[in-house]
Symmetry: C2
Subunit: 145 residues, 2 copies
Amino acid sequence: MRIGEVARQAGVSVRALRYYEEQDLLQAERSSGGQRQYPDSAVDRVHLIQQLFAAGLPSRSVREVLRCVYSGTVSPGLLDQLESERARISGRINELLAARDRLDGVIATTRNPPPECTHAQALDGPALSAAPSSTHRPAPRTTDR
Amino acid sequence: MRIGEVARQAGVSVRALRYYEEQDLLQAERSSGGQRQYPDSAVDRVHLIQQLFAAGLPSRSVREVLRCVYSGTVSPGLLDQLESERARISGRINELLAARDRLDGVIATTRNPPPECTHAQALDGPALSAAPSSTHRPAPRTTDR
DNA sequence: CTAAAACCTGACGTTGGCGTGAGGTGCAAG
DNA sequence: CTTGCACCTCACGCCAACGTCAGGTTTTAG
């Protein structure tokens, strides 16, 4: 399989695949003419890479995870690193949930403005239902299992 | 209130506050000597800005949201834009949930490697329980309400 | 055999939210 | 007055995952 086909099947750009090789995330054989040759499994591997990138892992971490998954060897300290990555992801999810709730408040306010805003404009504080609380959110619902 | 105090209370850098002004997200009066003067409400406003940035909104969108929230005026098309931002956030959350599940699979495999990997190394496909499916994930649980 | 895809290797550009000096000013205290 | 800290305005640096152009080679279709 050549690079263009892998790119199509995996839904990424050719440039991305070359970048993955440069970052040592995805190896390829070379044909006599110097062109990259991939096994079919490369497509799945690229999917995994994409998901890990989507999770916000840096390429260094992705590299280690890939080594672990595809070789069965466990480098020391990797587990701790994975756990901390997991924690970061959970934290990020909670951030996004909070932000989405906040945005929902704004949307609701926008959709039907409350009477207190119909006549009074340019309040110097946010008196809308989007309600920025003074110090700290109560951390409504978490997602950490 | 001067810039350093706002920065401390809001937990951001002075540089960030100046950047917000440059991006027209946070205005400030100036003292006779040219120093920025903020009302107390600026701290909450900065919190809101931070949350919107955390949600991945670009500064242009943040600017519009702020105008809406703090003035009560609804610019045309803003609602659609907010909805699409919300959708993006939800999509991002689902990506992260999927990635976290994937990572959990890797972690489980790492913690106690399955027998099939104890003797066979260098499988050309991922036969581990992290299990990259061939084409498309079934989109397990969504978070869009 | 030839033209057109598809591929190759550099190498520079992009994007955003700031970090980080450099070099100068405002302001309250001693 | 002068020390010293907080503040000011440029303006370049950064990081990551590629996009993109340039200029040349390999492979494939006819």
